[in-house]
C-alpha cells in the first residue's frame, strides 16, 4: 500500500509534466489546426538554456529561470516565423513535415553543440523532499504539481475571463470571421506560439532535475504528451490535463510492476488501445469535415 501511494505521487508528478506539454500541443492545434511535432523540443531547448545560464555561466537560479523563459518566448516567435507562418495556407501535411524537420534540426543542433552526454540540472529547492507518513514527497515533484495546478487555473482565467483569451478562442474557432471582426489573426497565432513555447519550456525546466537534460528528453516527452492528448480527447484542454496525469500514473505503475526497459512503451500501448476502442478519447472530439 505504501508503495502504491508512493508510485501514485511520482506518477502524478511526471504526468503533470506531460499535461503541461500536452496543453501546449492543444493550444497550437486549436489555433492553427496543426500538430506541432517540435513541441517536445521546446522543453528540451528550455532545459538546455537553463544549463547554459545556471550551470555554465553560474547565474542565480531564479535569474536563469526568467531569462530561459524569456528566451523561449523569443524562440516561439522565431519558430512561428520560420516554420509555421510561411506554410499557413498549405494543407496540414507539409506543415506536419516541416515541424518534424524542425524537431530533428533542434535536437541534433543541440547534440552537435553539447555532445551526447546528459547534463545535470539542480532542482529549485535545496531540501530534497519531505516524509509524509509512508510517502516520501520529492520537493521537485511537489513543485511540478503545484505549478501545474496554478497554470491550469491561469489558463482557465486567461481564456475565459480576459479579452485577449477570448480573441484567441475566436481565432481558433473561425479565422475568417475573427479577422472580419478586426482581430489580427497572425498576431493571435503569434501569441499562441509564444505562450505554447513558454509553457513547453516551463515543463522542460521543471522536469529537468528529475530526468537528465538530454537531447532525447524532448521527443520522449512529446510522444507521451501526444498520447495524453489522444487519451483525453484531441483538442480538448481538460482532456490534455487528465490524459497527461493518467499516462504518468499508468507508466509509473507499469515500470514498477511489469518492466523497466519497456517503460516508454506503455504510452504507446495505451495510445493504440484508445485509437482502436475509443478514438475520440475520454472527453470526445469534434469530428467530420463539412461536405
Amino acid at each position: 500500500m505504501d508503495l502504491v501511494l508512493q508510485l501514485l505521487f511520482t506518477g502524478i508528478g511526471i504526468g503533470a509534466v506531460y499535461a503541461l506539454v500536452a496543453l501546449g500541443f492543444v493550444l497550437i492545434f486549436r489555433a492553427t489546426n496543426v500538430v506541432n511535432f517540435a513541441q517536445g523540443e521546446f522543453s528540451m531547448v528550455a532545459a538546455y538554456l537553463m544549463v547554459v545560464f545556471s550551470v555554465d555561466l553560474g547565474w542565480p537560479y531564479w535569474l536563469s529561470f526568467l531569462i530561459a523563459l524569456a528566451g523561449m518566448a523569443l524562440f516561439g516567435v522565431i519558430f512561428n516565423l520560420g516554420v509555421y507562418y510561411p506554410l499557413r495556407h498549405r494543407t496540414y501535411l507539409p506543415v506536419i513535415i516541416a515541424t518534424i524537420g524542425a524537431s530533428i534540426l533542434l535536437s541534433n543542433s543541440v547534440l552537435a553543440i553539447y555532445g551526447p552526454q546528459p547534463q545535470v540540472l539542480q532542482g529549485w529547492f535545496d531540501t530534497p523532499g519531505i516524509q509524509l507518513g509512508p510517502v516520501y514527497l520529492d520537493s521537485q515533484y511537489l513543485l511540478i504539481i503545484g505549478v501545474t495546478i496554478l497554470l491550469v487555473l491561469f489558463n482557465f482565467w486567461f481564456f475565459e475571463r480576459t479579452l485577449l483569451g477570448k480573441k484567441l478562442q475566436a481565432t481558433s474557432q473561425d479565422k475568417e470571421m475573427a479577422s472580419l471582426l478586426g482581430i489580427s489573426v497572425s498576431t493571435m497565432i503569434m501569441i499562441t506560439f509564444i505562450y505554447s513555447a513558454v509553457l513547453g519550456g516551463l515543463a522542460g525546466i521543471l522536469v529537468a532535475p528529475v530526468l537528465f537534460v538530454s537531447i532525447q528528453m524532448g521527443s520522449t516527452i512529446a510522444l507521451k504528451a501526444f498520447a495524453a492528448t489522444i487519451i483525453g480527447g484531441f483538442g480538448d484542454v481538460a482532456g490534455a490535463i487528465v490524459g497527461g496525469l493518467a499516462l504518468g500514473v499508468i507508466e509509473t505503475f507499469g515500470a514498477a510492476y511489469i518492466s523497466v526497459p519497456y517503460k516508454d512503451g506503455f504510452a504507446f500501448l495505451v495510445l493504440i488501445a484508445f485509437l482502436v476502442f475509443r478514438p475520440q478519447g475520454i472527453f470526445g472530439e469534434r469530428v467530420a469535415e463539412k461536405a
Binding site: 492545434f29 496543426v34 500538430v35 511535432f37 520560420g82 516554420v83 510561411p86 506554410l87 498549405r90 496540414y92 501535411l93 507539409p94 506536419i96 513535415i97 516541416a98 518534424i100 524537420g101 524542425a102 524537431s103 530533428i104 534540426l105 533542434l106 535536437s107 541534433n108 543542433s109 543541440v110 547534440l111 552537435a112 555532445g115 551526447p116 537531447i215 521527443s219 510522444l223 501526444f226 498520447a227 489522444i230 484531441f234 526497459p261 519497456y262 516508454d264 512503451g265 504510452a267 504507446f268 495510445l271 493504440i272 485509437l275 482502436v276 478514438p279 467530420a288 469535415e289 461536405a291
Partner: protein
C-alpha cells in the same frame, strides 16, 4: 493505362501493346544490371552502390504512401529493420534458406504495416504521424532489449546470401535487378485502378468516397505496400552487408528516408532514386562533417523545412512539372463517341424512396421525418430556404452523414446504413455544391475515376474502354477537346461540368446534383439547363437541389419543399410553387 509518364495519358500510342511501349525501360534496366555484374568495383564503391540500391527500394515505399496516397509514415526504418532482421536471424541463427527468409520478412512487414494502418487510418493524418513515430520507438526498444531474440545492441552477424549470388558483385547485380522491377511497378502504379484510387484519396477523400472508392481500404493498401517495400529493401540490405544492428533502423533512419523522398520528389520513383543517391553520396563526399555527432541530422532537418517551403515537389517534381505542362498542350485527346446512359431498372416505379428520414445534430433537428419518392426517369427537385436541411438531406442520402432515423431505398436496395462508396456501387452518383475534383489530375483522369465505379455495366474490360467511356462523358458535357488539361486550368463553370461528367461516366441509377447552378453566370446556367435536358432525355433520374427557381421550375416535374428540416409541400411543380406554405416560406407571410 498510359505510356511514358504518370500524369498525362498518351492516347496516340495507346494501341501498341504495353510491353513494346515500355521496352526502352527494360533494355535500360538490363544494361544497368549487366553493368553492375560486369564492372569491377572496389569494396568501398560496391558498398555505397549496394546501400543506395536497397535504400531506394525502401524510399519507393514512401513515394507510394506519401506521394500517391498523401499519408505519412515515419517508421519506414522500422519496417526496413523487420525485413533485415527476418533475413538476418533466419539465415544466421535458424539456418533457413535466404529466399524463404526474404519472403517471410516481406509477409511480416506487410501484415505489420496493414495492422498498424488499420488502427489509425480512419483518423486524421496527425494521428498517423504520431503513431508511426511511437511504433518506430517501440521497435527500436524491442531490438535493443529483447536480447534472446535479436542479440540486443550487438546485432546479428554472419548473415548469409543466396547460393546463386555469393559474390558481392553478383549480389549487387541482383539488387539492381530488384530495384528495376520494383521501380517499374511503382512507376506504373498511378495508372492502375488502385493507384488512381490512391491519388483520388490524396486529393479529396470525400469525393473519392462518393465516387465508389473505399477510402479506408485504399489507405491501408498504400500503407501496407509501403511497409512491404521497406521489408523487401531491409532483407536485401541484410544479405548485402552480412551484419545488422539496432542503430541502423532507428528513428533517425526513418527521417533520413523521409528526407531522401522529399528531396528527390515524393511523387515518383525516379525522384526516390535521385534523393536516395544524393543523400548517400553527399555525406560520403563531406566525410569530415561526420566527426561532429548530430550535425548531419541537423542539416537533414533544416533541408526538410527548406524543401517543404521552397520545393514541395522535390528535384524530379520540379523537372517533370515543366515537362508535363508542355506535354498537356501537345497531346490531342482521342475523338469520342456519344455517351450512352443506361440506368439500371431492377426496382419498381420509384427509384429512390426515402421514408421518415431524420438527422439530428445534438438537439438540432436538421432533417426531421422527411419522406421523398423519386419517380423513375423524372427530374425531381428538392428546394427550401437557407437552413431548411436540403444539403443535410443530400449528405445523408450519399452517406457522408449517418441517418438518425428513417430508411433510404435505392432501386429496390436498402442503402440506409451503407458507406458512401457502397452507395455509389449501388448506383448513386452525386456532385458537390462546393466543387470537389481531384486537383492534381487531368479532367480525363477525374472522369475515369467516376467511370471506374464498381458495378458500372457501361464499360468494357481494360484501360482503353475506361478511357473511352471517360472521353464520351467529357464530350457529352462539351469538354472532350480539353481532356488532358489539369483541373486548375478550367474555369469554375467548367469544373462543375467535369464534376457532372464524372458522375455521368459511372452510369448511375440516380444522379444527385447539389446546387449545380450556384456561382454560374447566366450563359453557363442556360448551358446547364440544356445539359440537364439531354441527361433526362436518356431516361436518367435526377434529384436536384437548387435555389434558382427558373431552373427548378423548368427542369423539374416534381418538387419537394423543405423548411426547418420538415417537408412542407410535395407534388407537381407548378402546384407546389403556388402552394401558400411555400410562398410564405420563401417570401414570408403577412
Amino acid at each position: 493505362m498510359s505510356a511514358s509518364d504518370n500524369m498525362i495519358p498518351a492516347p496516340a500510342v495507346r494501341s501498341k501493346p504495353l510491353i513494346i511501349r515500355h521496352l526502352p525501360y527494360f533494355i535500360g534496366a538490363a544494361a544497368l544490371v549487366a553493368l553492375a555484374a560486369g564492372m569491377q568495383f572496389d569494396g568501398y564503391i560496391l558498398n555505397i552502390l549496394l546501400q543506395a540500391t536497397t535504400f531506394s527500394i525502401a524510399v519507393f515505399g514512401l513515394s507510394v504512401v506519401l506521394g500517391l496516397c498523401g499519408q505519412i509514415n515515419l517508421a519506414q526504418a522500422a519496417f526496413f529493420g523487420f525485413g533485415a532482421y527476418a533475413v538476418g536471424l533466419g539465415t544466421a541463427d535458424l539456418h533457413l534458406n535466404f529466399w524463404l527468409c526474404l519472403v517471410g520478412g516481406c509477409a511480416i512487414t506487410l501484415v505489420a504495416g496493414a495492422v498498424l494502418g488499420m488502427s489509425t487510418l480512419r483518423l486524421g493524418g496527425h494521428y498517423l504521424a504520431m503513431v508511426t513515430i511511437s511504433f518506430q520507438q517501440i521497435v527500436t526498444l524491442v531490438m535493443i532489449n529483447a536480447i534472446w531474440l535479436t542479440h540486443g545492441p550487438d546485432g546479428v552477424a554472419n548473415i548469409r546470401r543466396p547460393e546463386l549470388f555469393q559474390s558481392s558483385q553478383s549480389y549487387l547485380a541482383f539488387c539492381v535487378a530488384m530495384l528495376a522491377i520494383v521501380g517499374y511497378l511503382v512507376w506504373h502504379l498511378p495508372d492502375t485502378k488502385l493507384g488512381r484510387a490512391m491519388r483520388a484519396v490524396r486529393d479529396n477523400e470525400l469525393a473519392a468516397g462518393v465516387n465508389g472508392i473505399d477510402v479506408f481500404r485504399t489507405k491501408v493498401s498504400a500503407f501496407g505496400l509501403c511497409a512491404l517495400l521497406g521489408g523487401l529493401a531491409g532483407g536485401l540490405f541484410a544479405g548485402g552487408f552480412a551484419y545488422v544492428s539496432p542503430d541502423q533502423f532507428s528513428f533517425a533512419e526513418s527521417i533520413q528516408f523521409l528526407t531522401m523522398s522529399l528531396l528527390g520528389g515524393v511523387a515518383s520513383p525516379i525522384g526516390s532514386v535521385i534523393g536516395t543517391g544524393l543523400l548517400i553520396l553527399i555525406p560520403e563526399w563531406l566525410r569530415f562533417l561526420k566527426s561532429v555527432p548530430g550535425l548531419y541530422l541537423a542539416i537533414y532537418g533544416l533541408s526538410v523545412i527548406l524543401i517543404i517551403r521552397f520545393m514541395p515537389d522535390g528535384i524530379w517534381g520540379f523537372v517533370s512539372d515543366a515537362f508535363t505542362r508542355w506535354r498537356a498542350h501537345t497531346n490531342a485527346p482521342p475523338v469520342a463517341g456519344a455517351l450512352l446512359l443506361r440506368p439500371a431498372t431492377t426496382g419498381g416505379d420509384i427509384v429512390l424512396e426515402v421514408t421518415g428520414l431524420s438527422k439530428h445534430f445534438g438537439g438540432l433537428k436538421a432533417v426531421d421525418g422527411v419522406d421523398i419518392a423519386v419517380k423513375r426517369g423524372s427530374v425531381h427537385a428538392l428546394i427550401g430556404p437557407n437552413g431548411s436541411g436540403k444539403t443535410t438531406t443530400l449528405n445523408v442520402l450519399s452517406g457522408l452523414y449517418k441517418a438518425t432515423a428513417g430508411k433510404i431505398v435505392l432501386d429496390g436496395t436498402d442503402i440506409t446504413s451503407m458507406a458512401p462508396h457502397q452507395r455509389t456501387a449501388a448506383g448513386l452518383g452525386r456532385t458537390f455544391q462546393n466543387i470537389r475534383l481531384f486537383r492534381s489530375m487531368t479532367a480525363l483522369e477525374n472522369v475515369e475515376i467516376g467511370a471506374e465505379r464498381p458495378g458500372n455495366t457501361m464499360i468494357g474490360k481494360g484501360d482503353d474502354a475506361l478511357t473511352e467511356r471517360a472521353m464520351e462523358a467529357l464530350t457529352f458535357v462539351g469538354l472532350g477537346n480539353r481532356a488532358n488539361e489539369l483541373i486548375s486550368s478550367f474555369s469554375y463553370g467548367h469544373q462543375r461540368l467535369i464534376e457532372i461528367a464524372r458522375a455521368l461516366a459511372s452510369n448511375p441509377t440516380l444522379l444527385l446534383l447539389d446546387e449545380p447552378a450556384a456561382g454560374l453566370n447566366s450563359t453557363e446556367k442556360l448551358e446547364l439547363h440544356e445539359l440537364l435536358k439531354r441527361i433526362a432525355a436518356q431516361g436518367l433520374t435526377i434529384l436536384i437541389i437548387d435555389h434558382d427557381m427558373t431552373l427548378v421550375s423548368e427542369a423539374a416535374q416534381h418538387i419537394t419543399v423543405l423548411n426547418f428540416g420538415r417537408r412542407i409541400a410535395d407534388g407537381e411543380s407548378m402546384a407546389v410553387l403556388r402552394h401558400p406554405d411555400v410562398v410564405s416560406a420563401y417570401l414570408g407571410s403577412e
